[in-house]
């Protein structure tokens, strides 16, 4: 297993490296950010000075070489816009995104699995049909629209929850979180729900399909014949079997919760990494874009690894080993 993990991490390093090349050159193709940055009043000399201050007058391969040299020492460059180290800015915005993603994951599991279980056990009941119909909506409605509707309903019309922004934070260990305050929880609920909507639907459908399939299997029939209570059959035997695909998919989707929280963060003015990234893309703040994507690649690799490990714990038939790839 140790060898497996080490090899996986080495593969990750290669992917991160390739990613940096693609992103660095890709962003460069779009154009240079000088005209996004300089004041319109700046004259030619000022513009030239800015170009050289940001190192944009060097050939692109040289810029990449300098970037690599910095990266080897943990310096991914300074943001053009903020003038602070890109890595530090991203880490600063990370807790907000993580707490949003974890809240969304929690909602997807806490709502999705029980509802899916119910819909799988009683497929013909009216409640199940409603749940399944609603899950189609969860799949197909665009996030930005749902987000605005949630704000209009819960903040503007009903006035129950705050419309945008992040609530009060408290320091826990080394980072600040808003999940530990009442104000913070109120603020996180709508964006987390918005972000989770698709995942809830996904969890419902996966669980329902798994339950329906499992209920017809021999081992369930056998357990029934043995006189084991329905409750035990479902909670131990069925759940254990259907959890494998659910864990895999939710694990992978967790990466996308973090990576694609951009829309939700923009709508809810949530000060996370996604918001930072989209602003950076709009203004061609290359160091942030590059650093962000590299961190994301790392994230995905680590999540996949964790999913594999959890997998092997859930299903003893799975052994973590290198398949000689």
């Amino acid at each position: 297993m140790t060898v497996f993990i080490i090899r996986r991490l080495l593969q990750a390093a290669v992917v991160v490296m390739l990613m940096s090349v693609i992103v660095f050159f890709g962003v460069n193709v779009i154009g240079d950010p000088v005209y996004m940055l300089v004041s319109p009043d700046a004259d030619q000399a000022e513009i030239a000075a800015t170009i050289s201050r940001l190192g944009l007058d060097r050939p692109i391969w040289e810029q990449y070489w300098l970037f690599l040299k910095g990266a080897a020492q943990g310096d991914l460059g300074n943001s053009f816009i903020f003038g602070e180290p890109a890595l530090q800015l991203i880490l600063q915005h990370m807790p907000a995104t993580l707490e949003l993603a974890f809240s969304a994951l929690f909602l997807s599991i806490a709502l999705g699995i029980p509802l899916g279980l119910y819909a799988g056990l009683y497929p013909d009941s009216r409640i199940s049909k409603t749940v399944m119909a609603a899950s189609i909506l969860g799949f197909s409605l665009p996030t930005f629209w749902v987000g605005l509707m949630l704000i209009i309903l819960f903040a503007v019309e009903l006035g129950w929850l705050p419309s945008t922004g992040r609530g009060d934070t408290v320091k826990v260990l080394w980072f600040h979180t808003s999940l530990a305050t009442w104000d913070g929880l109120q603020h996180v609920f709508l964006p987390a729900l918005n972000l989770a909507l698709l995942k809830i639907s996904l969890a419902i459908r996966l669980t329902r399909a798994g339950v329906r399939e499992a209920m017809g299997q021999d081992y369930v029939k056998f357990a029934r014949a043995k006189g084991i209570s329905t409750r035990r059959i479902i909670s131990v035997h069925v759940m254990k079997n259907i959890m494998i695909p659910v864990v895999t998919v939710m694990g992978l989707e967790f990466g996308s919760l973090i990576g694609f929280s951009v829309v939700t963060e923009s709508i809810f003015a949530w000060p996370g990494m996604g918001k930072l990234l989209i602003d950076a893309i709009l203004q061609l703040d290359r160091p942030i874009v590059v650093a962000y994507l590299m961190i994301m690649v790392l994230f995905f690799v680590i999540i996949n690894l964790l999913v594999d490990i959890i997998y092997s714990l859930l299903d003893p038939r799975v052994r973590l080993q290198d398949q000689g790839a």
Partner: protein
């Protein structure tokens, strides 16, 4: 019945909290300041934020007219020297006295902030600040320089003891964010909020708000929703589609005012064969935009009223020059060009383009209010008089680079573009020297002349104006240069942007021509 009581109780509660919270003001900003350091990035949102914490020697009022700030008076004492008399008895937030030393060190730091993406060197270059006594500063220049007041009015004064040697990080964490302004720095959480409290010892008019929170909410619909939900008291940058709804909402006050930003069309004046212009059959033709008759025809073919009424939903002013009425250097003789499609056709025929030609208009789609829609409207209007115009819009991150130096030779790439210009100095020399003057690398003039328009006569007048200290004479020169440029159709102004703010009932925001959103501009009715 139960429900009614609940509603009554809820509204009573809302009223009482409303009264208790009245001293705190929360503003939802359309764009976020990138730093607390007032000299780090010369860009609108940062400059607006700086006005809360810091003062300048000269302040700009909501119409960008100059008024005394930390300087009580300023005047040229000879051709190369301006004398500033400083305000006495002003204290920084940390209790230290404001003196000439603070001014000197501020002007030393302003052009040299490390990593600054857009420094204030634009305004400080060519000026040397000299301390005469504790409350007198002389600014020396190499040549007579009339815009001293305007330039100095952009630079926030830092404190000699903590500000001038502070790093940008130290400003962001508050240790160096010590000014003399109406508000004191409390906290800054990037992407989330900036909190300020009233400076009880402010030398000028004390603000009405004991606490101010600035919250960036960049998504337009969300900003409007936050206002409607009562989470913020004032918002900037109301989306044009929401203006009517908010105006009809009894709980909201909308305020609008023209900005210093003109939206205009720039044309290729310098290439014999312009890359995005062809004959109707696709053949290569000589650049028709070099003919003033064609340029005039284009100007006449554009129905500015329709752009204003339909595309901008009334939230703009038709433009006939580079700044709206009321600004320094504006010509009284210039009116928006009348819509005259027949006249345009006649002029095109006279110039030898009776059949018209093909052209592409390029513009940004995320920079100005409704920019892409305006480009489409212009293209349709031109097609109607025979100039078959295609539209290509793109994100500003791609657009400005290509429009400024996108061609293989590093020259402006496009033939016909839609752009905007905001006169930061609040007077006409800013657009004239940047857009109309010949592109001149050495002199630093014509830097944004993306059409490479060049007219030596106009250049001479602009240069003369830039060296004329006497206000009345300079006003006339600027107006004359504008008139000549409009006569020769150097650029085609279409409209001036009008900005919209909205506030909850009981508050009013005084619109500013510089588009800044500041707590000092929010008044209780």
């Amino acid at each position: 019945m139960m429900k009614l009581t609940l509603v009554a109780a809820a509204s009573a509660l809302a009223l009482s909290t409303g009264a208790a919270m009245a001293e705190k003001l929360t503003i939802g900003l359309a764009s976020e300041p990138t730093s607390i350091d007032p000299q780090f990035h010369n860009v609108g949102p940062n400059n607006a934020l700086a006005m809360h914490i810091f003062d300048r020697l000269i302040l700009q009022d909501e119409k960008q007219q100059l008024m005394p700030g930390l300087a009580v008076s300023w005047k040229p004492i000879d051709d190369l020297t301006w004398e500033f008399k400083l305000r006495e008895g002003v204290k920084f937030h940390d209790g230290t006295d404001f003196t000439a030393d603070d001014v000197i060190c501020t002007f030393e730091r302003a052009p040299n902030v490390p990593n600054s993406p857009a420094s204030f060197a634009t305004y400080t270059k060519g000026k040397t600040a000299v301390k005469i006594d504790n409350y007198t500063v002389h600014f020396k220049t190499e040549a007579p320089y009339p815009l001293m007041g305007n330039d100095v009015s952009t630079v926030s004064i830092l404190s000699d003891s903590v500000g001038c040697n502070g790093t940008t990080e130290e400003f962001n964490n508050g240790t160096a964010a010590v000014g003399t302004g109406p508000f004191k720095f409390v906290s800054y959480t990037p992407g989330q909020s900036i909190v300020l409290e009233r400076n009880e010892d402010y030398w000028g008019t004390k603000p009405e708000w004991s606490e101010v929170e600035l919250r960036p909410i960049t998504s337009g619909p969300s900003r409007v929703a936050a206002l409607l939900a009562g989470d913020v008291d004032v918002i900037s940058g109301v989306p044009t589609t929401d203006i009517e709804v908010l105006k009809n909402d009894g709980e909201i006050t909308v305020s609008q005012g023209p900005s210093n930003r003109v939206i205009y069309l720039h044309m290729d004046h310098f290439r014999e064969n312009s890359p995005f212009i062809t004959g109707k059959d696709g053949s290569e033709i000589k650049n028709p935009l070099m003919d003033v008759r064609v340029r005039t025809a284009i100007s006449k073919a554009i129905a500015r009223d329709i752009i204003v009424d339909r595309v901008m939903e009334g939230v703009a002013l038709p433009a006939g020059q580079v700044l709206p009425d009321g600004f320094f250097g504006v010509s009284e003789n210039l009116k928006p060009v009348e819509y005259d499609p027949e006249g345009a056709k006649a002029l095109l025929a006279e110039a030898g383009y009776a059949d018209g030609f093909k052209m592409t208009i390029h513009g940004p789609n995320d920079r100005y209010i409704n920019d892409a829609k305006i480009a489409e409207a212009v293209a349709q209007m031109l097609s109607r008089v025979g100039i078959e115009t295609a539209v290509e819009t793109m994100p500003r991150s791609v657009y400005f680079n290509r429009a400024s130096r996108g061609s293989p030779e590093g020259l402006p790439e496009f033939s016909f573009i839609l752009v905007g210009w905001g006169a930061g100095s609040g007077e006409a020399s800013s657009p004239l020297k940047a857009l109309i003057h010949t592109y001149d690398q050495e002199a630093g003039l014509g830097a944004t002349n993306r059409g490479r328009y060049s007219n030596p006569e106009i250049d001479a007048i602009i240069r003369q104006a830039l060296a004329t200290v006497d206000d009345a004479a300079r006003q006339d020169l600027l107006a004359k240069a504008t008139e000549m440029a409009m006569e020769d159709v150097a650029i085609i102004p279409t409209h001036f942007q009008v900005n919209t703010w909205a506030a909850r009932k009981g508050l009013t925001y005084t619109p500013r021509t510089d588009e800044y959103t500041i707590a000092m501009g929010v008044a209780k009715d």
